[in-house]
Symmetry: C2
Subunit: 210 residues, 2 copies
């Protein structure tokens, strides 16, 4: 198992670029096309592929279609991935409406909230009480959850998810969640990302002056 996160992220980016290239009519690509597209060196592209046993043709590059297929297999996207969302606040709402997941084969199967005013059992994406999470997740064998609840509730909602059999989590609450080793957590922290941009902009300015 390859544990290098940035390598996996690059694979996703390659795949994205390949979709665009295919739409433009490309049938084959070379490592430097892909490198260019995602902003790395060609040798990096080849090394990434080599790590996952993806091979092309010397002088012929890579077949776009087969490459996309292989990447999808590696990234676990052979069938639609079902995920649940906890918390129908700002972020939860945006996620439910977000169209970007579909085309990546990701489907939000349900949203869970504590507020009964939000329940909506018959919606395209049903909004259900937290208590129903266990049955729902188990019967559908869902493995991935998104945490979009307020900070204070995040850890307890996570624990609930784990009890349901969830194995991987995308967390929007700006704190570190405690999880067993075999559980995967990715954090999206908007404040932090902005803060980071701010730091580098300021640092840039200072360098210029000094």
């Amino acid at each position: 198992m390859i544990t290098n996160k940035s390598c996996i992220i690059r694979l996703s980016r390659y795949k994205n670029s390949l979709h665009r290239l295919r739409a433009l009519g490309f049938v084959k690509v070379f490592s430097d096309n892909l490198a260019d597209a995602i902003g790395v060196l060609p040798s990096q592209v080849r090394k990434d592929f080599s790590l996952f046993g993806i091979s092309g043709n010397k002088r012929g590059g890579y077949q776009v279609d087969t490459l996309i297929e292989k990447l999808n297999t590696i990234l676990g996207k052979e069938q639609t991935q079902e995920v649940i969302v906890a918390g129908l606040g700002n972020i939860g709402n945006a996620l439910m409406k977000y169209r970007g997941f579909e085309k990546e084969g990701i489907r939000i199967s349900a949203c869970f909230d504590i507020d009964s005013a939000k329940y909506h059992r018959e919606a395209a994406i049903p909004v259900l009480p937290l208590e129903e999470m266990k049955d729902f997740v188990r019967s559908k064998r869902i493995k991935i959850g998104v945490i979009a609840v307020p900070d204070i509730a995040a850890q307890s909602v996570l624990d609930m998810m784990l009890a349901c059999g969830i194995k991987g989590v995308l967390n929007f609450a700006p704190l570190r969640l405690r999880v067993p080793e075999d559980i995967v957590v990715n954090n999206v922290n908007l404040e932090l990302e902005l803060e980071n941009v701010i730091y580098f902009v300021n640092a840039q300015e200072k360098t210029k002056v000094g």
Copy 2:
């Protein structure tokens, strides 16, 4: 200038943890408290601090208040940072309503959109036509922008921002933006984050079986 992004991200995390610790009544902390809080080793904490000239007291640890202050200075948070948002779709909307920025000293000054139906000049956060971006940004000397427009529009909106004097961007459009070297871009790509979780969950499963 320190260019190590993950180091800066850790600084932000330390700061977050420190706020929590202070709220709990802590007056001083040790490197291993912070290490524990954000999930790294104590030596990492000390080295990070040392890189930025932050020093504590041998055997006495670090003063929480002064530490927070120093981190704020480093992270450029002495005064409120004003940012603009382009695109009042799902994500733009969620950002405008999101309460998490305030407490980090980040303020969304305005949102810009192409759709005249969305304009709302008198709102707490005004929604303005894209054409007004230049005047607005220049008069307020805003340096940071958020891109929350559809893929196809992202590059042109970015170029517009740069023409206005924006120096750093947080980009939600799932593609690589082309920018001059001195411009900072951080990408938040939700599909990609989820895909990443999915990969590691699948990889985990396979390892267990194999």
